[in-house]
């Protein structure tokens, strides 16, 4: 039935689009609202249909965007998409804010030996392998043509970090979905939340260096000065934003969701223009609220309450902006990089778990929990594309291709791993109420009950 509604919506959209074949009319205010409304409805319906098939909702949103975008059906024009990219900043801030609330240091402390080794070898190893692959096979990546060795080196790290990004939300959602609990579930959760912080911090650092290298003519002192302002500045602003949000949540009981949206919008639009890193600012705000106040759960719930339309639009727009013709020529590299990434996580995670003397189930399956990608990966990908526009649609196709592949396949693999490990069904149903979330259609947070 959902698909029938999608067809009706498509027919209405096609009819409306045929009225104004000229690009000028498509750019008027009605076009923006029409595109937003159409994408909201059809992506939501397709996402629900995907959920019924046991697939992630996010994949449904992306597929809707791809199908309705300018490269396939052209129901949503390029001009409409340009206007709708405004959702990117807000969605990125909200995703990072939610991600920050999932990092509860108190809960992670007992697992630190395992997390340290698995993170070091799994995450660190994968990033290095991906960077090495970029350096060794530049011929596979046409957008690197003409780069000097230094430039290629500068590019390899932020690109590797972008490709290596993981998804705590998918991990949390699957844990809830199958009611899993045990050493594997807890370790995976710890690893992905720490990896998230590492990747965001590492990306900010490496992308600043790369931007400076590509900017040309800047000395190391300038690079250090830039980094010295951007990273600590973003963290300080993030903590201040967290304080303001926490104070508001304490004072006002019921209006938190709207305030957080406004704060997210300000972080995205004002923070970016002031030269701060949106991801770091929002992540620091979320971290502060989770670890220094008792409002982490409320923040998470409030973000979830109001952010669904933003996420649905964000992911469908991300799908619609995917350059399929570029992806077609990069299908080989996409599969190759996805395979390298998977191998890195599976082997590195296994070795790290063995060194940390983790239980057998952790050794065998921890790598599968590090494979899924979703919202954060897409956010970093969009930041990458904003920061390095010179690499254009081919870089976008590579990154979105890898993320889409991992988003589609890896949650299924991790779900199987949880079932095979015997941890599925161990958790009581008290916190397995499914909810709407951007990443898989069921999300939550690392609750105290789940803490080791």
């Amino acid at each position: 039935v959902n698909l029938l509604y999608v067809v009706i919506l498509g027919a209405l959209m096609q009819a409306a689009r045929s009225y104004a074949p000229s690009a000028t009319l498509g750019a008027m205010p009605g076009g923006t609202i029409l595109g937003a409304g159409y994408l909201l409805l059809s992506a939501y319906l397709v996402g629900s249909a995907f959920k019924l098939l046991g697939l992630p909702k996010l994949t449904g949103y992306l597929v809707t965007g791809i199908l309705t975008g300018p490269e396939v059906l052209d129901l949503v024009s390029r001009r409409m998409l340009e206007d709708l990219t405004i959702f990117n900043g807000l969605a990125t801030a909200l995703i990072a804010l939610t991600a920050g609330t999932e990092l509860d240091w108190r809960a992670l402390r007992p697992l630190m030996p395992s997390i340290r080794w698995i993170g070091l070898l799994g995450l660190g190893g994968t990033i290095l392998i991906l960077a090495a692959a970029i350096l060794l096979f530049p011929a596979l990546l046409p957008f690197t043509a003409g780069l000097t060795n230094i430039e290629l080196l500068a590019l390899s790290l932020p690109l590797a970090l972008t490709l290596a990004a993981q998804s705590p939300a998918v991990v949390v959602a699957l844990r809830k979905e199958v009611g899993a609990d045990g050493p594997l579930t807890r370790t995976v959760l710890g690893v992905v939340v720490v990896a998230e912080l590492t990747i965001v911090g590492g990306y900010t650092l490496s992308s600043s260096i790369a931007q400076t290298v590509f900017g040309g003519g800047k000395g190391w002192l300038e690079i250090l000065g830039h980094l010295g302002i951007e990273i600590p500045g973003s963290l300080i602003v993030g903590v201040l934003a967290g304080m303001v949000i926490a104070a508001f949540l304490k004072l006002v009981r019921n209006e938190g969701a709207l305030f957080i949206l406004a704060a997210g919008f300000l972080i995205a639009e004002v923070g970016r223009r002031l030269g701060f890193d949106i991801l770091l600012v929002a992540l620091a705000a979320g971290l502060y609220i989770r670890n220094f106040t008792t409002l982490g759960h409320r923040l998470h719930d409030d973000v979830e309450a109001g952010s669904l339309p933003v996420f649905v639009t964000f992911f469908s727009v991300a799908g619609a902006t995917l350059h399929l013709h570029a992806l077609r020529s990069l299908i080989g590299p996409v599969v190759l990089f996805a395979a390298i990434r998977a191998a890195g996580y599976l082997v590195g995670g296994r070795i790290g778990a063995r060194i940390a003397d983790a239980p057998d189930s952790v050794r065998r399956f921890v790598g599968f929990g590090m494979l899924p990608q979703a919202g954060l990966a897409l956010s970093i990908a969009l930041v990458f594309l904003q920061q390095f526009p010179r690499f254009g649609e081919q870089a976008a196709a590579l990154i979105f291709g890898v993320v889409s592949l991992n988003e589609l396949v890896c949650p299924v693999l991790y779900r199987l791993a949880l079932l095979r490990s015997g941890e599925a069904g161990r958790k009581p149903d008290d916190e397995t109420e499914p909810s709407e979330a951007p990443e898989t259609g069921a999300a939550g947070t690392l609750s105290p009950a789940a803490s080791p």
């Binding site: 209405l12 409805l41 990219t85 406004a262």
Partner: protein, 456 residues
């Protein structure tokens, strides 16, 4: 005199106060809409035209103004306004108009030209919200109410006719060739249409104050049908004054556009009904509601149809179909109606040019035409349809102030015809609202107090 709510729409409006809605769901709706409004504002588009510091100021200022609109729409403030018998258009509405005007000043730099162009998608979105909400108020049984179609016809057509005549005479005095210019005729018709609309909150104040003298059924039905007539007028205007040329793909006769307007509104309404009926409560429900309103409004604006009319039809279809979800839709829209209206008032304030003398000349003509039109309509009503309204009701309807709906009509003109003389119309409507409110307050104080008040 009947005091019991007579129709289904009253069941929706009066028996389901917003407070009964789960507050989490209500806030989910608020924040969802807030997110879309923030993003619809699309400051990205203005970035090229505005320097980063100015853009930061514009974004921060706009977010603060939105927050202020949300706070001003709090049910307690609305209740306080109601207790003081004040028309929202001249209290919070005027404050936001002035805030908008202030924000558009170059020294303030929040809603200057580039940011204003960037937030233009907010206009169809807000109009769509108001249209959908008005449609939800519409019960098909209203058509068969004691208030006849003839009464409504008189109450809307005569003020429109008087305003049109007055404005055309004014235009002719300024420029004799204006009288044959279709654009002048179009703008004068729009002013007349705005001037014919009566404030529904004012009527509610009246009924609340003297429940024995005024029939809720008759007066509310009258004003609601008047709004329906106004929306129909806008629909017809959008059909007969259309952009032509190669930029549009369809060249249809007026009847064709009429069918398209009715078809798109009903199709979106049926789709909304089908989706909302089976949707789980919470975020999915609001996604669908928001999506339907956005798409209906966007489609109407994109096809150069009246956003208010198309969204009204969608809302009316949803309201008149069976199902219990209507109550949730109504409660959500009711809570957000005021903030949406205030955001539109901000935009109205930003495009308003109070120093333009043309608007003030027009304001005088507008007000006199409106009162003459209403007075004549009520005289005809007492002469030919004496059983419809009693003397006090006729007096109240003659002096009832202009409501927020008039501003929505004028902003529709901005959406439909970017070249229309919107600023003049706004001057006329705003000053008309203030003066008609003063007249209405005088009327309230002049009428005999209710027996209950005397006893107190």
């Amino acid at each position: 005199v009947q005091s019991a709510p007579p129709f289904g729409y009253n069941r929706l409006l009066n028996k389901v106060p917003g407070s009964k809605l789960n507050s989490h769901r209500r806030l989910t709706a608020a924040s969802s809409l807030g997110a879309v409004v923030l993003c619809a504002a699309a400051p990205e588009n203005a970035a090229a035209a505005v320097s980063p510091p100015d853009m930061i100021r514009a974004v921060t200022g706009f977010v603060l103004l939105l927050a202020l609109a949300y706070i001003a729409g709090h049910p307690r403030l609305v209740q306080a306004e109601h207790r003081l018998a004040l028309n929202p258009l001249v209290t919070s509405g005027l404050v936001f108009v002035f805030l908008g005007t202030l924000a558009s000043e170059r020294n303030v730099g929040v809603l200057t030209d580039a940011p204003l162009a960037a937030i233009s998608p907010v206009i169809p979105l807000g109009l769509g919200w108001i249209g959908f909400r008005t449609g939800l108020r519409f019960d098909h049984r209203l058509i068969g109410t004691p208030v006849s179609q003839a009464g409504i016809f008189l109450a809307t057509i005569l003020p429109i006719g008087f305003s049109l005549a007055g404005c055309m005479i004014g235009a002719w005095l300024v420029n004799p060739s204006a009288i044959t210019d279709p654009l002048w005729v179009r703008d004068c018709l729009l002013i007349g249409l705005a001037g014919a609309m009566t404030s529904l909150p004012a009527i509610k104040i009246l009924i609340g104050r003297w429940p024995r003298d005024f029939s809720r059924e008759r007066l509310e039905s009258f004003v609601k049908l008047e709004h329906v007539a106004g929306i129909s007028g806008l629909m017809l205007m959008a059909i007969f004054f259309r952009p032509q040329g190669d930029v549009v793909g369809w060249r249809l006769p007026g009847n064709g556009w009429l069918l398209i307007t009715l078809g798109s509104g009903c199709a979106m309404g049926l789709l909304a009904y089908a989706l909302l009926r089976t949707s789980p409560k919470g975020p999915p429900f609001f996604i669908i509601l928001l999506g339907v309103i956005c798409m209906s409004a966007g489609m109407a604006s994109f096809l150069r149809l009246s956003v208010l009319a198309v969204c009204f039809l969608s809302g009316a279809v949803v309201a008149n179909m069976p199902g219990t979800f209507n109550e949730e839709v109504c409660a959500v829209l009711k809570r957000l109606e005021r903030p949406v209206f205030l955001v539109l008032m901000l935009v109205a304030g930003a495009i308003w040019q109070p120093l333009d003398w043309h608007g003030w000349v027009l304001a005088g003509i507008f007000l006199i035409s409106r009162i003459c039109g209403k007075w004549t309509a009520m005289r005809f009503s007492s002469r030919f349809l004496p059983e419809e309204l009693n003397a006090a009701e006729r007096r109240a309807l003659t002096l009832a102030p202009i409501g927020p709906f008039a501003i929505a009509v004028i902003l529709s003109a901005r959406d439909l015809y970017p070249g229309a003389r919107t600023s003049w119309m706004l001057t006329a409507a705003i000053s008309g609202a203030v003066i008609s409110e003063l007249l209405f307050q005088w009327f309230l104080r002049r009428e005999e107090p209710a027996p209950a008040e005397v006893a107190a």
